[in-house]
Structures are given as C-alpha cells and as structure tokens.
Amino acid sequence: MEKVNVKDKEIVVPGEVVAVGMSYLPGQGIYRKGDSLIASLLGLVRIEGKVIKILPVSGKYLPKRGDVIIGKVKDINFSGWSVQTNSAYPAMLSMKDGSSDFIRRGADLTRYFNIGDYLVTKIYNVTSQNLIDLTMKGPGLRKLEGGRILHVSPSKVPRIIGKQGSMVSMIKKAANCNVIVGQNGVVWIKGADPKDEILTVETILKIEKESHISGLTDRIKGFLESKGKKVTGE
C-alpha cells in the first residue's frame, strides 16, 4: 500500500517512516529500506512531486561538488595543502589546483598559502570515500587577507545569501562591508570601520536566529534602518 505519512513542511526525526511505496524517491536526508522511505535527519520535510527530501534544522556541513566554501589551511605536504572545511571529511588542495603558476619540485609552498590562511575555494570533486578535492581556479577564488571570520550553521547559509544573493548584497551595501559566505557556514567579513563589521556580524547572527520566521527580509531591512543605515534596492 502506498502512502505518505507526513505533510509538507512537517518536522520529522531520524528513523521516522516518511512514506511507503516505490513510487516515491528519497532525496537529501532520506533513505530507502525495503518498501519504506525513512528520515535520517531532524528537519522539515519537503515533498516535491515524487521526490521527498529533508531540509535539516541544523547539522554539520556535508560537502557537495561545486560548492564555494571558505577553508583554513591546516597543513602543507609534498603535493599540496590540507584544508579544514568545517566538515567531518578531509580536504586537499593539490599543487596543480592551487595556482596557475608553474611550481618547481621542492618549492616553498608557504609562498602561496601558509598554515592558518583562509581561502575561498571550490569543491570540484567529492570521492566515494568523502575525500574532498579543492581548486582555486575559478572566478573569485582567492586567499583572504585581513577581515574576520564568523561561523554560522551551514543549514542557514541559503537564508543569509537570500534569493540570488539579495540578502547578502543588502547587508554589504547597508553596512559598507565586504562579505563572503561559504556554503560550509564560514563567513568572512571585512570593512574599513570595526563598527561596520560588528553591525554585519550582528545582522548575520540575527538572520541565523530568526530565519524560520516569515518576513525575514523586511525585518532585516528594518533592523539595518534602525541602526541608522540606508537600505537601497531589493
């Protein structure tokens, strides 16, 4: 017998049987066991046609191919850099993906990226063992100079970025700061005045805290205006 046990946007817990039957497909956070689809995450169910998936309420970052993330250089070895990505899996940036320069054998790799540096980098492959391969080749991918780092829940990243980047560009303009949001929940902020940076941090933390309540954009707009900042455009 085929049926769906949950409604759209309902909260489910791991182990809950979301649906029974072969006509539904498991999406993110759902696996199939025999006939039934079972949740593996705590989150909101989304039913999109035949596909059922879960938007997690919180959790660690799961690496996905094509994601632009902010990582921290953890170690340097013979073939490249080992990077911390805020996920449970190790990430490597190989020499050939790290720079378009020709790097001679035995060259000093710290000249490019040193231990402790933060990088905007892209995941170009995630292996079946969940090893992450990174690349620095692409628009906007670079080493970050100065600024400060903020950690947010990776599940809130889409809310911080907004539709087509509307939210983050609103904050950037209003607070006069440069902001880069990595898909792994690491945010980099740099502004000329510390007060601007603090306002940006406050705004982002407010989004993280209130993202589930509707009317988020207007509230953030109001918040920025209440701090005496001019908010323009959408």
């Binding site: 921290k72 402790g116 933060y118 100065g146 400060r148 510390p194 007060k195 603090i198 941090v201 406050e202």
Partner: protein, 257 residues
C-alpha cells in the same frame, strides 16, 4: 594569519570596541544557577555570554595530613571536555586544565574561604575532604573567571551528607552547609598591545600578550594572583590591572548573593 587576527583585534581595540561590540572594560551578560546536579552535594552553573561552565562539590572522608591533623582538606579538579571546544583533547590533563584548577584552588585556599578546622571529625584520624570538580560545557573565552565563580557558588550550595561509622550516606544530605569565612571573586584582566580588557573572547585569548588573574575579597584584599602569557608586565600595568579587577569583582560579586 594569527598575526593578521592580532592586528585586526588591535584595530578594534584602538577604536575602543571589542570583537562582539562591547566596550573594553565591559563584561558579557552573566547568569548563575545553583543545585543543577542531583548527584553532587553542591553544584552550580555559570553562563558568561556564550561560555557555560559547571562546578560540582563532593565530600569524602579520610585521614588528615600529618602536619595538619585537625584540618580538613580541599581539592580542585578541572577537566576540559572536547565537547566544549574542538581544540580540547580527551586524555590526561594538559597544561591549561592544570593551571585553571590551580588558579581556582589558590583563590579559595589562600583567601581561607573554607574554615578547614571545622572540617575535622576526629583529630588525627578522620576529616572531611572537599572535592570541587570543574567542567566547561561551552568554551567561548574566560574560563578562569567562570570557573572561580562557579566553584564559589557550588561551595555555597553544598550540604554535608550523613555519616555513620566512617561511612558516608550520599543519599541523605543534612542541612549543614560548608563553614565559610569569606567569599573571594576572581577577575582576569588581559593585555593586548597597550590595551587592558576584561572577560576575553576566545579570539582575544589566543592573541593575548599577558593576563593577570586577581582574586579579591569585598574589602579589596588581594588573595591570589596568577600571571600568564609570554610578555612581561610593568609595575604600573599591574597596578592598573588590579584596580580594574577589583572594580569588576564588585559586579561579579552580585551573582554570589
């Protein structure tokens, strides 16, 4: 990069503002709760901003030290759980946890907060041992002050268990509290560049030049000092730091009630 972060924090401090928007000499919001553990004879939870710590007091009986046959003893342990910060590792205690435990211990011991003579059951044979355990639930900076405050609150919360024939019945607590003489409060002042700040965040703790933990009594008596960090401190700086710590201790003392 750590140099870069240091420069960034210094730039903030030059603008008289902290990483989280506080003033230089401003504490984060402090809240306290006592009696949080059912298994300990006394316990407390202290929250400073995002830092959360817990302290527990346990009683044991044992033989006194031969040089102080009429006095009970006191022990402080701190265990930095990996759960509270990714940088903490499980295993034998590291330098950090030993220092934390000893600084808290010294504050309580040297101020003579606990009347150890009243912990004697039979001179030379049986005395009470007070064991204070400290654990962080979340480490977001300033464990020193949080631990010291939690330890004092737990001591104030503690009640003696019943004792029969040298055996403690932990299930039955008496209404007798620990004999307290004074109540010390510790405040840590951090120096980064030329700036003195209190209640450091994790980021600030990582780049500090020097720190001074000052345990004081309500009348301003200094009971214990601990200096940390790699840079030296001048005499004026130490005086300034002690003044600042004494003033901030008044604020923290309100939470001791």
């Amino acid at each position: 990069m750590s140099n870069e972060i240091r420069g960034h924090i210094l730039n903030y401090l030059k603008n008289k503002v902290r990483y989280d928007g506080r003033k230089l000499e401003e504490y984060r919001k402090v809240s306290v709760e006592t009696g949080v553990s059912k298994t300990a004879e006394g316990s407390a939870k202290v929250t400073i901003g995002e830092t959360v710590v817990m302290a527990g007091v346990k009683f044991e009986v044992g033989e006194p030290y031969p040089d102080i046959p009429e006095e009970g003893t006191m022990m402080v342990n701190a265990e930095l759980l990996p759960m509270s910060n990714p940088e903490f590792e499980s295993g034998p205690p590291g330098i950090e946890s030993i220092e934390l435990a000893r600084v808290v211990d010294r504050g309580i011991r040297e101020s003579k907060a606990i009347d150890t003579k009243k912990l004697c059951i039979k001179a030379g044979e049986l005395v009470w041992t007070v064991i204070i355990d400290l654990i962080p639930i979340n480490h977001a900076g300033n464990l020193f002050d949080a631990f010291a405050l939690a330890a004092m609150l737990a001591i104030k919360d503690a009640k003696f268990p019943e004792i029969k024939n040298k055996q403690i019945d932990y299930k039955k607590l008496t209404s007798k509290k620990l004999p307290l003489l004074v109540e010390p409060v510790s405040v840590t002042v951090i120096k980064i560049g030329d700036h003195l700040i209190v209640d450091p965040l994790l980021e600030e703790e990582k780049v500090l030049d020097a720190r001074l933990t000052v345990a004081t009594l309500p009348d301003g008596t200094i009971c214990a000092l601990q200096k940390g960090g790699s840079k030296p401190l001048s005499q004026e700086e130490i005086e300034k730091m002690i003044d600042l710590a004494t003033e901030k201790a008044k604020e923290l003392r309100k939470h001791l009630r």
